[in-house]
Assembly symmetry: C2
C-alpha cells in the first residue's frame, strides 16, 4: 500500500485524524494493519504504537457460538440498543478460514443492516490469514485503532473454528457464549474448554415456541457451570436468556456486562487481566518468531524435518532431538 | 556422577544390565537422568536413547487427587493386586515443589510398605527441580528406563500443584482422578480443566459411613461429565467407587483401564495419542531451548526485561516489542 504516511510525520498525521474521529483514517489504518506486505507491517507497528496512548478505555466483548445460533441478529440488536444509549460500537471478527474475496460470514454488514448504517458503529470483517496467530495479531491491533478512534464498546466475534474462541477470549475483557435453545446435544458436543471460557452465557431465541426449551437449556448450562471453578474471584458465570428480534433480554444482558466490569475493577482484576493478556501475547509472539528463525536456517531446516519424523516414530527421545537442533542452530563458539 | 559408563561402551553395558532386570543398574540410570550436572545430562540422553527400543510396552497410568484423598493407599492396594496378577509395577511421581533432602510426600515408600518390599515393584520419589518442565522431562526419561527394565505398569502420580496434572496427563496413556467422597465442595473448587483430563474417575473411601456420600459424589461427577466432550472417540469417561483398605473396586478399576486400552488400540487412537504426545513434547523442548538461547544473549537480556515491563504497562504493543528483540538477537546480515 502506497502511503505517504510511511514517514513518521505521515504516521503522526494519520493518528491525529484517527483520534479526531475521521472514519476514512480509521479504515485506512486498519487496511494497513491487515496488509500482508512487509513494509506495510513496519508502518502498521509504528501506527499502532502511536495510537496506543489513546486506546484502552473501551469494554471489549468477545462473542462466540455455533453457526445458526443467531450471532449477527444478536449483534444487530445489542449494537443498535447500545447506540441509542449513547455508545459507539465497533464490531470485529476472527475467522482464520476467511477468504477476502469470498468474504467471511462474520462481520457481514448485510446481516446487521441497521447497525451498518449508523455513524456510531464500525463493522469490519475478519482479516484474511492462513494462521490463527496472524489473524489474531491483526485483530488485536485493530482493537487499538478503533479504541483510539473513540469506540467505547468493541465486540469481537468468532464462529468457533479451531482455537479461535481461545484466541478471542485472550484479547477481550468479557467473553459471551451464545447457545441455541435446543441445548442438550449442543452442550454435550461443545468443544472441550469452551464452556469454561464464558463469563456470561446467553441462550438465544428465547421466545414463542422455543421459550420452554430455552429455559431448560439455561438450567442445564447453569448446572454444568456448578462444577467449574470461576475464572475470576467474585464473579460466578451467569446464564441468561435473550430474544434478539424483540430486544427481550438485551438491556439485562448489558447490565450483566456492566456488573462484571464493576466487580473486576473493584478488585483490581480488570487491570491485572489485561496486563496478563499483554504479557501472554508477548511470550507467544516471541516464541513464534524464534521458531520462524529456526525454520529459516537452511542448516537446520532439513534436520528438523528428519528429527521430527524420528520423534513421531519413537526412534529418538523428543528432548535429545530438540537438543541436537539447538546445538546445530546455535553452535557454541 | 563419576560413571565409567560415560563412554559408549559404558552406556551400552548399563543398558544391557538394565534390560536384564538388574535393579542397581536401573537405580543408577535414573539417578543419572535426574542429575542436574551438564555432563551427566549428555550421558543420560545417550542412555535413554539406547534404552528406547526396549521401552513402550507398558500401560502408563497417571494419577492425581487432592491431598488426603488416599493416593498412597490406593497405589498400595492397586500395586499389590497387580503384582499378584503377575504384573511388574513402577511408581514415579511429579512434584515440582519437592526438595530432595526433605523428601516429597509423593512416592513415599513408608506409605506403601507392602509394595515397597516387593521385588516386582519399583518406587521412586519425584525428581527435584525448580521448574515443572525440568521435572517432567526427567520423569518422561525415567518412564523409558523402567519400561526397558521390564515394568509393564507405570504409575505416575502427582499432587496437583500448578500445571502438574496436565504435565502428567501429557505423558501417560490413561489419566485417573481420585475424588474424596465429600464431593460437592471439592468438585466446585476443582481447578479448571482438571475434570476434563480424567479418563476414569474414582471416588475413594467408598465404605462404611462414607458409602452413601461416595455414591452421591459419583452421581454428581457423572452429571458434570455429561457436558464435556470426550477426549477419545468411543470412550466415555467413567466414574467408579473404590475402597482401598478392603480392595473393593480395585479389580473393577483395572477392568475399566483394560477396556480403555482395548478401545483405543482397536481404533488406532492408542498409537496416535502417544505419537502426538511425543511431538508436543518435542515442540515444547524446542521452544524452551530457544527462549533460553535468547535469555543467554547479553545483548538482548536487558532489552527483554525492559520491553517486558513496557508491555506489561501497556506502553508498547506486544507484537512490536517481540519484533524488536528478535531483530536485535538475529540481525539480518
Amino acid at each position: 500500500m502506497n502511503l505517504r504516511s510511511s514517514s513518521d510525520s505521515g504516521v503522526a498525521g494519520l493518528v491525529e485524524k484517527l483520534v479526531a474521529g475521521d472514519r476514512r483514517a480509521l479504515a485506512k489504518s486498519i487496511t494497513l494493519v491487515e496488509s500482508l506486505r512487509h513494509d506495510d507491517q513496519e508502518t502498521a507497528q509504528r501506527l499502532t504504537n502511536a495510537a496506543l496512548p489513546h486506546a484502552g478505555r473501551a469494554i471489549r466483548v468477545g462473542l462466540s457460538g455455533a453457526p445458526g445460533v443467531g450471532k449477527s441478529t444478536f449483534i444487530e440488536a445489542l449494537g443498535t440498543w447500545l447506540i441509542t444509549a449513547g455508545r459507539k460500537v465497533a464490531v470485529l471478527a476472527v475467522d482464520p478460514s476467511s477468504q477476502r474475496s469470498g468474504g467471511s460470514i462474520l462481520g457481514d454488514k448485510t446481516r446487521m443492516p441497521e447497525l451498518a448504517q449508523s455513524p456510531n458503529a464500525f463493522i469490519r470483517p475478519s482479516p484474511s490469514g492462513t494462521t490463527l496467530g496472524g489473524v489474531a495479531r491483526r485483530t488485536r491491533e485493530s482493537i487499538v485503532l478503533v479504541e483510539a478512534a473513540g469506540f467505547d464498546v468493541v465486540i469481537v466475534e468468532t464462529v468457533g473454528v479451531g482455537q479461535s474462541e481461545t484466541a478471542v477470549a485472550d484479547m477481550v475483557d468479557v467473553f459471551t457464549l451464545l447457545i441455541s435453545p435446543s441445548g442438550g446435544d449442543e452442550l454435550q458436543g461443545m468443544k472441550r474448554g469452551i464452556m469454561e471460557l464464558a463469563d456470561i452465557a446467553l441462550v438465544t431465541k428465547a421466545d414463542g415456541d422455543l421459550l420452554h426449551a430455552a429455559n431448560r437449556t439455561a438450567a442445564e448450562y447453569a448446572a454444568a457451570l456448578h462444577f467449574m471453578r470461576p475464572k475470576f474471584a467474585g464473579w460466578h458465570p451467569e446464564v441468561a436468556l435473550v430474544s434478539s428480534p424483540t430486544r427481550l433480554g438485551i438491556p439485562e444482558y448489558w447490565a450483566h456486562v456492566e456488573r462484571f466490569c464493576a466487580t473486576l475493577q473493584a478488585s483490581g482484576q480488570w487491570d491485572e487481566h489485561r496486563r496478563l493478556q499483554r504479557l501472554a501475547w508477548f511470550g507467544t509472539e516471541l516464541r513464534e518468531g524464534l521458531v520462524a528463525q529456526l525454520r529459516e536456517r537452511e542448516s537446520v531446516a532439513g534436520e528438523i524435518r528428519e528429527l521430527e519424523k524420528m520423534v513421531a516414530g519413537g526412534q529418538i527421545t523428543p528432548a535429545s532431538a530438540a537438543g541436537r537442533i539447538l546445538s546445530k542452530a546455535f553452535p557454541k563458539p
